[in-house]
Symmetry: C2
Subunit: 399 residues, 2 copies
């Protein structure tokens, strides 16, 4: 009987979905919502830093002054003044993208989906770092690409490996998170960016530069983006999720002239346009509030939490565990001695009432079992102290 249903399903469902893996992270996150568990597992920004009162104030203005407009349909490209504002903020940082090349999306996740829809035929080559952001793999897999992957180190991917892949295979898309990568926290060095730019420039490859964390930084280092270095071959994704609030589901993509028009049509077919009211709310927030001060405050708090977590790790983790401390973003990346399985540690950790994400899930095509990710943005001082101490106890059982 069960078999019959399963066969029936197969005939109805499209090939692209039939073999889609469910996200293991979802299963992990279910365990970690238990109130007795201290969770470093999720990838959530700290809700204490959401600008609730400021957003409420500008929202009331939108309702009073432009409520009927904001509740009506609008254009698929997005609210024009918001696109201008995004362009202007980029200019202030030395990146020149015209508002016409910006499309408002439901977070950068939709930018991933639209880009794949635009570019990928089944079997097309997609190059990713190993490990990489799991949500991107989920989006890509629907378009049935052929993955290639390269190792990533604290200063970025293995450039020799990239060169070798590009020599051997046609790569349609190189996906990367160059700033404070999820999950490793790695930031591509300027040298590596320049080397990669030279390699990609020789090809037809499009760089999909995913930058949700770029503004959450703990140093004043300024490294050029791929969009600056190779504008015609880069689609840059941005998001308000980490600098304002993820619940608003508003991000954007910046694409070259020859791609943006078709991306707008795909956006129209996907969901007509982004929430119009919220686009106007965000525009007012960016225009009327001290956004840069707000972002500086987020950076200050996250930096404090990163430092604290690293201090606690030094105190409680066995010295055999290597932990990378990033210059921004929301994650630490840990490497256990090779013989220790992070899943086994996870199970012990749950007994000690603390959770993290085993690294295995972030590798598209490697069987790496001794790494894990720790989120430091969404825990207060007490939880960081207590959670890392408990995690140290769990790890020590394996040494």
């Amino acid at each position: 009987m069960n078999n019959k249903v399963s066969e029936e399903q197969k005939s109805v469902i499209a090939n692209r979905v039939n073999n889609l893996p469910e996200s293991f992270i979802r299963e992990i996150l279910k365990v970690t919502t238990r109130p007795d568990i201290i969770s470093f597992a999720g990838g959530l920004p700290n809700p204490k830093l959401f600008p609730v009162e400021l957003l409420q104030t500008v929202t009331n203005k939108v309702f009073v002054e432009e409520g009927r407009e904001g509740l009506q349909y609008t254009v698929s490209e997005g609210f024009q003044p918001l696109r201008h504002k995004i362009s202007e903020r980029y200019s202030d940082k030395g990146l020149h993208v015209k508002p016409e090349n910006i499309l408002i999306t439901n977070g950068s996740q939709q930018g991933l989906d639209l880009t794949c829809k635009l570019l990928l035929n089944p079997g097309d080559g997609v190059l990713v770092c190993n490990p990489t952001f799991i949500g991107a793999l989920q989006s890509f897999s629907i378009y049935e690409p052929s993955y290639s992957s390269v190792a990533i180190y604290p200063d970025g991917p293995d450039v020799e490996q990239i060169a070798s892949v590009l020599r051997e295979k046609e790569i349609k898309l190189f996906y990367c998170v160059p700033n404070f990568q999820n999950p490793t926290g790695a930031t591509f060095s300027e040298e590596k960016r320049l080397q990669i730019t030279r390699l990609i420039h020789e090809t037809e490859t499009i760089i999909l530069e995913d930058d949700p964390y770029g503004e959450i930084k703990f140093t004043s280092a300024k490294i050029p983006s791929f969009k600056q270095l190779l504008p015609e071959q880069t689609i840059l994704l941005g998001s308000f999720s980490k600098i304002v609030a993820p619940g608003l589901r508003t991000g954007w993509l910046a694409a070259p002239d020859h791609l943006i028009r078709k991306l707008v049509i795909l956006k129209q077919a996907a969901d007509t346009h982004n929430n119009h009211l919220v686009q106007r709310i965000l525009f007012r927030f960016l225009t009327e509030c001290d956004v840069e001060g707000h972002i500086a405050r987020i950076c200050e708090v996250y930096k404090f939490q990163r430092d604290l977590m690293m201090d606690c790790i030094k105190e409680h983790f066995p010295k055999e565990v290597k932990v990378f401390s990033p210059d921004g973003g929301m994650f630490l990346w840990a490497e256990l001695p090779e013989h220790i399985d992070a899943y086994a540690v996870f199970e012990e950790a749950i007994k000690e009432k603390v959770a993290f994400v085993p690294g295995k899930t972030f590798y598209p095509n490697l069987d790496v079992n001794n790494t894990f990710r720790l989120n430091f943005s969404n825990s207060n001082e007490d939880k960081i102290r207590k959670g890392i101490e408990s995690l140290g106890i769990a790890i020590k059982k394996f040494l």
Copy 2:
């Protein structure tokens, strides 16, 4: 040089997008935004009926009482109380859909995209009415289906034609708007729904029942939905765009057990989840405000506008033009004598400062040139009187 760019584009862009037609309606709507033009072209609800003050009140409550939760990430399925509320409202109307089978989407447009993503391999059979909703064709075309079509009359599609298509070809998806169809205003009769149900039940076909207008009705007639008649083979799409406001981009789909889980994964890969804050705002609006009274008011105003437009048409249109008056929704459908081209009339109409949408754009695979659509929801009394008189003048030039 241009040729080179164009070839380069071709090699980069996926097949599914290369031949995607741009929406002609976009071009039409551009003309019709001129302030001197009375436009019956768009498909906009009347912004005067948007519940701005009520929404502002519940929004403030959300910010004060649950602001931090509403600004955080949430589950891909959608805000649980909102899914319950949608299920409850269906129950009140005699349709039983469990909250677990409801997925919140960015308007019903996203329901179209996710359904196609779930079901369609390139070349799969899709059956539509001729004419049909253009936004659906745009979504479908990305998945490269093979279209079949059947004629539609004021009481629904030609059932004999449906039977014949189903005999000859495997149809993965039958797409329809059974209530006050866009563009024709047609409502499928109960008899035709039962006949179609019997036909589809013999097949593996999924009915994609798109119902954005179902609650905007001018009679008390109760006709069962396909979701009631054939629940296991129907995906039902609903939307708050016409009963609350389209700018909020919130709709839902209701799918059977064997499909809903994969649709949730596709939603997650597409954009993580719908705007969380807005889901809480809509839940409060549905729970704390007199929604049924609000919808009754919309129906009353739209009925008045439909009646007025029909009266003006009787007065000003030549009797050779047949106009169908629907029992709900937002559109009238007109048929000119066969020798008159609605595009030519459109050009004359623009000179008379009035606009509509020529019907041709709504036919997926027929060359019908003598029909057009009129929107009655988004014009006040003066505009309806003046616009229809001017349109009568334009049409008379062809007789």
